[in-house]
């Protein structure tokens, strides 16, 4: 029998195969404070695919493609399933866009984006491991250095 650590949801979104260590950062990207329904989160589950994984189940809320794309910044191997009436009705492919607009902050203190009000823009140089470049100051950031905008 399949071990179930988090209760199944009737309607909503299941995000699976997240790296355990990045799961908290990932949930933050989704601005969970804006959600009205329960969110379940589990860490350090065994995964054949990635070793130690995290799972997030969001009740009564269907993630959009652009929200899913943000997850891809930290978890390129994640799987996102839309659940309706306990059944998976759709699997959304996690895909990092070529350009991340308004998603990341450039932490370079002498970058123009920290001096003037500009929408940040990053080019994705590499997906695995993640490498992004600020469109303005051209500084390159790795996965552990990127700062994801909070609300």
């Amino acid at each position: 029998m399949k071990e179930r650590r988090i209760p199944a949801i009737k309607d909503g979104t299941v995000i699976d195969h997240l790296p355990s260590r990045d799961t908290f950062r990932i949930i933050r990207i989704l601005n969970p404070q804006e959600f009205k329904h329960p969110i379940n989160l589990a860490l350090n589950l065994n995964s054949k695919k990635i070793g130690s994984k995290g799972v997030i189940k969001i009740d009564s809320r269907f993630l959009t493609q652009s929200e899913v794309n943000k997850i891809a910044i930290l978890a390129p191997n994640a799987t996102v399933s839309i659940i309706k009436n306990y059944k998976t009705t759709e699997k959304i492919q996690v895909k990092l866009p070529e350009e991340l607009v308004g998603v990341l902050n450039c932490t370079n203190p002498v970058c123009i984006t920290s001096k003037e009000v500009i929408i940040s823009k990053f080019k994705v140089l590499r997906e695995k491991p993640l490498e992004v470049k600020c469109h303005y100051c051209e500084r390159v950031y790795g996965k552990d250095e990127v700062e994801i905008k909070g609300k």
Binding site: V110, C111, I112, K115, E116, C134, Y136, C137, E138, R139
Partner: protein, 304 residues
């Protein structure tokens, strides 16, 4: 090749054929063309002073028959009062046909280019890019060696914070060259650049001892160790005198080695080398005018 309306912001914006075309036009610009940009106006917006770059651009514009307006210190403008780069550009483009911007804030030139409907040339944005320096370096190498392909090029000094070296190495990687990075470990070429260069098939060598490799080199590109780039002043004190080239170098080099330097120098190259046939740094600086003439003409679509 059509450069009309294009912005010149970063080494990353160029293809090899772009570079070759710019070099070709720069060569033609060694000739006098006093009417080429007649009636055109260049705005030089210098948010930090840089006499060298500004004079070179102004001279280039005047020599092509154009006119120049602008400022060279943000204290005299309303920028200090909080006017943004965006608004300053929106103002300046009403009065000019092409803009050169210089700023200590990285990414300013890219933003300026997005704001302006006329071409923008980056005259240096902090530690990020200085494409006209990169192009005049490339032009100088091609001019003195008659080729780029196959050269063995050494870079000496601050390779970590030195944007000129980083940009030049990227530009040179379009050709099959061999690169020698000579610096103390703490100031070595950043690993991500080395990785990128190697992926492009460039042979890269690292050392901290100039004499270990100097015998092999066709070009030795020397840079200043810049105090302002160091987060910690004590670090700077440790490295500021790391390299001081003098005539003892001459026993360890090929006859036709050429020494380049973006200037100003602060003691990396002893003046006793200036009169040797190896020193090309003053010629290099002078080449800046031809290259900037070419860029101004190109982005205004008037190079023919």
């Amino acid at each position: 090749m059509n450069f009309k309306g294009r912005d010149i912001i970063s080494v990353r914006d160029f293809s090899k054929s772009d570079l070759l075309y710019i070099l070709k036009i720069a060569k033609e610009m060694e000739k006098e063309k006093p009417k080429l940009l007649d009636g055109k106006i260049l705005a030089t917006l210098f948010f930090e002073p840089s006499t060298r770059t500004r004079l070179s651009f102004e001279s280039a514009m005047f020599r092509l028959g154009g006119k120049v307006l602008g400022f060279s210190d943000e204290k005299v403008t309303s920028v200090k009062k909080g006017e943004t780069v965006w608004d300053t550009i929106k103002m300046a483009e009403c009065y000019s046909d092409v803009i050169v911007i210089r700023s200590p804030v990285e990414g300013s030139a890219r933003l300026a280019a997005e704001a302006a409907s006329i071409p923008v040339i980056n005259g240096g944005d902090g530690a990020n890019q200085h494409p006209t320096q990169m192009l005049l370096d490339l032009y100088t190498i091609q001019k003195i060696k008659k080729k780029i392909e196959g050269l063995k090029i050494g870079f000496l000094g601050d390779l970590k914070y030195g944007r000129t070296v980083n940009s030049l190495a990227i530009a040179l990687s379009f050709w099959k060259v061999e690169m020698y990075f000579i610096a103390p470990d703490a100031l070595q070429m950043p690993e991500h650049y080395i990785k990128e260069l190697r992926e492009k098939g460039i042979k890269c060598h690292k050392t901290s001892d100039v004499f270990e490799v100097s015998q092999k080199l066709d070009i030795l590109y020397v840079t200043r160790i810049q105090q302002e780039r160091f987060p910690d002043p004590l670090e700077y004190e440790k490295y500021k005198n790391a390299y001081r080239l003098d005539i003892t170098l001459l026993d360890h080099i090929k006859k036709d080695l050429k020494i380049m330097h973006p200037l100003p120098r602060v003691g990396e190259i002893n003046a006793e080398l200036d009169d040797t046939e190896h020193a090309v740094y003053f010629e290099q600086a002078a080449n800046g005018v031809a290259v900037r003439k070419a860029l101004l003409a190109l982005v205004l679509g008037e190079e023919k």
